[in-house]
């Protein structure tokens, strides 16, 4: 199955709804800013998971579009704020919103899109009724709680120059920050809309697939080709992120090497030279840290694939689409 074409077909009605939900208003500048990130092409993976899971469990076509649009809006407002928090320069091949308009207007535009996301969710009542609509909103709130918790873990490790972070801490952060919004909540929302599917089984499955996704994402951040990637290569090293590769590297270092790596990693991004970042990257390659992470991602992906049948998704074309997307998540090169 051509997953890119599949995602793109699924994305179209969702993006249409997103732009309907961001109706025009005054001042124009605010509404332009809200539409900016959604207009830049993303994969549309998460909204597709909502829509396809809903269909796979028996919801009529179209019932999940507004919920999927809200999830897409979430991703965009959170990226606006994340980009400020991480001091990022580029997003999807263009300057970040705060680079274009300054931090104050960008924080405010992120808030505005967050509000529009809830307005969208309030409108799901007409599509799916009040009872399911409340459940979807409660699920969104639960997901958002986990996202900001994970974000706090990640930022405070960097800000406090904290290096006693274990792999278990990393997985907890990934669970909160990635697994919840990439797999668990999208699929659980789809199941809620369909009125079927085990929330618990999805949770367990999503945790494992989420790990595979995040580790793969971190590997791509280091080894992707710049012109396809849309953001800076090795941005995670510039930003001081605790990745599986970095934790592995630190474990494998001699005390002198460790000191050197931490000295570089503890510098604020604007003080890190290209050479220093390249040096950390080379050490990761030399110590087998990237291979280690790739192997872990593969193992979690394999485990997730083995768990997929436990979701008891009824046979049909939506189930096949779901299976292809799951393969794509863990095999993608971008």
């Amino acid at each position: 199955m051509d997953v890119t074409a599949l995602l793109s077909a699924r994305k179209e009605p969702v993006m249409k709804r997103v732009f309907e939900l961001i109706e025009d208003g005054e001042p124009k500048l605010l509404y332009e800013m809200m539409r900016d990130y959604p207009s830049r092409s993303g994969k549309g993976l998460r909204p597709a998971l909502v829509v396809i899971t809903a269909e796979a469990f028996g919801a009529p076509a179209g019932k999940a579009v507004t919920t999927a649009a809200a999830l897409e809006m979430f991703q965009n407002w959170v990226l606006i704020h994340d980009d400020i928090e991480d001091g990022s320069d580029d997003r999807r091949g263009k300057p970040c919103l705060h680079k274009l308009h300054g931090v104050p207007l960008a924080i405010n535009a992120g808030d505005a899109l967050h509000i529009k996301m809830w307005e969208g969710l309030l409108k799901t009542r007409k599509e799916i009724g009040a009872a399911k609509s409340y459940k979807v909103m409660a699920k969104m709130a639960e997901m958002l709680d986990r996202t900001v918790e994970g974000q706090t873990m990640e930022i405070s490790w960097v800000e406090n120059k904290q290096w006693d972070v274990t792999e278990e801490d990393y997985y907890m952060m990934v669970h909160k920050k990635t697994a919840w919004y990439t797999v668990i909540a999208p699929m659980q929302m789809g199941a809620i809309i369909a009125g079927h599917g085990s929330q618990k089984a999805i949770h367990r499955f999503g945790e494992v697939l989420g790990r595979a996704f995040q580790i793969q994402d971190d590997v791509l951040n280091l080894v992707a080709e710049e012109d396809k990637y849309g953001k800076e290569i090795a941005g995670d090293i510039y930003e001081g992120k605790r990745t599986l590769m970095l934790l592995h590297l630190i474990r494998k270092c001699t005390p002198a090497e460790r000191e050197k790596v931490l000295d570089i990693m503890n510098k604020p991004r604007e003080q890190k030279t290209k050479e220093e970042v390249a040096c950390v990257l080379q050490m990761m390659k030399d110590k087998g840290s990237i291979d280690y992470a790739k192997a872990k991602a593969k193992a979690f992906a394999a485990k997730a694939k083995k768990m997929f049948p436990k979701l008891r998704v009824p046979a049909g074309s939506a189930r096949d689409e779901l299976a292809s997307i799951i393969d794509f998540i863990v095999e993608r090169e971008l």
Copy 2:
């Protein structure tokens, strides 16, 4: 009536609910940050308006507490973000949250509190039923839309060094940024919960009272006593805010004076000297700008008081409380 005692009595159950809604979680740091601003004493004016309006229109006591708590949470998350956007130093007598924890964690904590606000609103369903709960949530969304629009107007005037701002522009900004969340939405939410009261009449009344409130707020920003005020005196001049006094001053300036004032106002806050700020303040006093604003605030307050009977609030102790709060809003010295 002792309005301070009245507000404080009304505030107590609301703040109790706020802290219940911010249950503990991991990492602790995030939850501590969420509780920080709500723990600093505020007047509690807006949540009191929700609760008292609901009672005045006949809602049983307690029905509006969770909605009022959500509004209080709104004020706190928006202040966390505003303080970053304005580059403020202090809030309610202590350093701003981003001064204590850095901008990245503070943006994220503001988002976290925004999410908790919606979780609170979702819980109103049990208190007031799904139909009213949806109406309250839609009202909150409408209010939030206006807030971020007003914020965009205000920030972009400063960032673009825009000086063709008229009094009408200023009133539009005040309508969106202040009147909506200080009077219109709190009272409309109270009326929704009671199932009575004219939304339109409240809107008209709130617009006028909101103007009185904001102008009074801007005057206090310039002339309050520092130890009572809790934030920097003349912060609005440091931040380059277009206030009614500033617009008046510019109109009354000679071309040379105007150039001098705009030169100072256009500087980023950290480049403004104490002397420059004092100079603008003195010019406002000399040109009668502060007296002009005080007179405008008084006129809008008088107009609002004249409009109050049109709200047709049934006689009773809640109506009396409402009337006292409205007097307080426009006569307060802090």
